[in-house]
């Protein structure tokens, strides 16, 4: 019997190293590549007819596009337009790695804290730089809420700075923990089902019950996979909006 977290183990498929760093092509790398190729390939295939009256697949592709475009537009507005390719890529990357991870025997790239943290931290640094370039030193007025009592100001600024600095952590842990918890749950119930079949007797008879739970959980995980991609994207847009408009 394997541990329910063994599914997250990185397995080397092809050994590589660069400047002494291990950059082997692993199962995680494989699913990153697949996510990119499948997302871009699907959208390009869907848009191949490029007709004014869309078919079913083209409609789906356009819906994805307009979904993300609407998130960006409603949260950031016109100024967010130059960042649309990045936001769209981010959404597609997370959505497809999450969804691919739900296929049995596949690997969930976003269940690795290092991956989600790298994305969240890059976004954090990028957004902060955008804010600094756009507003200069005025950017730091972001940490001073308007109309706050003067006496409380030091405390409020401290809280604001901490809540700002904690953004990459909350953003990355949210996605990572969702993926980790969901997949672990699935494995736990799968392990339970296997154990019950081995135990015999009444347990053997009732062993389909955990399987039913797995079916329900798979549905939930499908929802979580899409919802977390949406949440990650919308939060990125909110942070971008904060940097561009300062409150």
């Amino acid at each position: 019997m394997h541990s329910p977290v063994e599914q997250f183990t990185i397995k080397v498929l092809y050994s590589l190293s660069l400047f002494g760093y291990d950059i082997s092509f692993t199962n995680s790398s494989l699913f990153m590549v697949l996510a990119v190729l499948i997302s871009a390939g699907f959208l390009l295939f869907a848009m191949r007819p490029a007709s004014i009256i869309p078919g079913k697949i083209q409609c789906l592709a356009e819906m994805l596009y307009e979904f993300v475009a609407n998130i960006l537009d409603s949260n950031v507005g016109k100024e967010g337009k130059p960042y649309f390719p990045f936001i769209f890529t981010l959404f597609l990357f997370i959505l497809f790695t999450n969804l691919l991870g739900l296929i049995p025997y596949s690997y969930t790239v976003t269940s690795q804290i290092v991956v989600t943290f790298a994305m969240a931290f890059t976004i954090f640094v990028g957004v902060t730089l955008i804010g600094l370039f756009k507003h200069g030193l005025h950017f730091f007025s972001f940490f001073v809420p308007e109309g706050a009592p003067k006496i409380l100001l030091p405390l409020i600024i401290l809280i604001e700075v901490i809540s700002y600095l904690i953004r990459p952590i909350s953003l990355s842990v949210r996605l990572f923990a969702n993926m980790l918890a969901g997949h672990t749950m699935l494995k736990v119930f799968a392990g339970l089902a296997v154990m019950m079949t081995g135990a015999g007797g009444l347990l053997f008879i009732s062993s389909p019950l955990p399987l039913l739970v797995i079916v329900a959980l798979t549905g939930l995980e499908l929802l979580v996979a899409m919802l977390q991609a949406y949440v990650f994207t919308i939060l990125t847009c909110m942070y971008l909006n904060d940097a561009l408009h300062l409150h």
């Binding site: 019997m1 541990s3 063994e6 990119v36 390719p85 949210r174 990572f176 969702n178 672990t184 736990v188």
Partner: protein, 202 residues
């Protein structure tokens, strides 16, 4: 906010899920002697460089593919559609305006024709009235002349008849007198009497 509520809800769900999964895991681990994992694989730092490296590579490739191929292919179609829609709408609006203009010009020409017809009718009525009056006047004049002439003629005839009657009466009276009486009477005397008598009668 709605989003915040959803997020908070999910946070609690996550906490519960993680907690329950860890409970289950430790319960399983207790019965699982063959397990060789020493904690979460996510915390194995030796796997981080490769993940970061491939994340950067694949995300960059994805960004390139999405920004150069995917987005233009979708946005051109959307733009073309909105152009087509707006041009169709414009055409429809134009056609509607044309129809409206045509209708109003038709209406105004109809109005013109109506007023012209009314004018013509009024003029014709006036003319006809004038003409009738003129003719009436002419006819009544003629009639008056005719009746005067006729009256004159009648009175002349009457006078003639009266005078001839007087003659006849005179002749008859003279004859009666000469025949019935021995008196020889002068014609002029009888005439005088007859004419006096007849004038009296008249």
């Amino acid at each position: 906010m709605d989003k915040n509520q959803i997020m908070r809800k999910y946070f609690y769900i996550n906490v519960v899920l993680i907690a329950s999964s860890y409970c289950a895991r430790s319960a399983l681990a207790a019965s699982d002697k063959s397990s060789d994992t020493g904690g979460l694989p996510q915390l194995d730092i030796s796997t981080w460089p490769t993940q970061l490296f491939w994340l950067i590579i694949t995300f960059s490739v994805g960004y390139f593919l999405v920004s150069t191929f995917v987005i233009p292919s979708i946005s051109t179609v959307i733009e073309r559609r909105s152009n087509k829609l707006s041009s169709d709408l414009n055409n429809a609006k134009k056609a509607q305006e044309d129809a409206k203009n045509a209708f109003s010009s038709y209406q105004s020409s109809l109005e013109d024709a109506r007023s012209q017809a009314a004018n013509t009718l009024a003029k014709a009525t006036e003319e006809a009235k004038l003409d009738t009056a003129k003719r009436e006047a002419a006819i009544s004049k003629k009639l008056a002349a005719n009746s005067k002439k006729a009256e004159e003629k009648i009175s002349k005839i009457r006078e003639e008849t009266l005078s001839s009657l007087n003659e006849l009466a005179t002749d008859i009276s003279q004859k009666i007198i000469t025949d019935l009486t021995p008196i020889k009477v002068q014609k002029s005397v009888v005439k005088k009497y007859v004419s006096a008598q007849s004038r009296f009668q008249n």
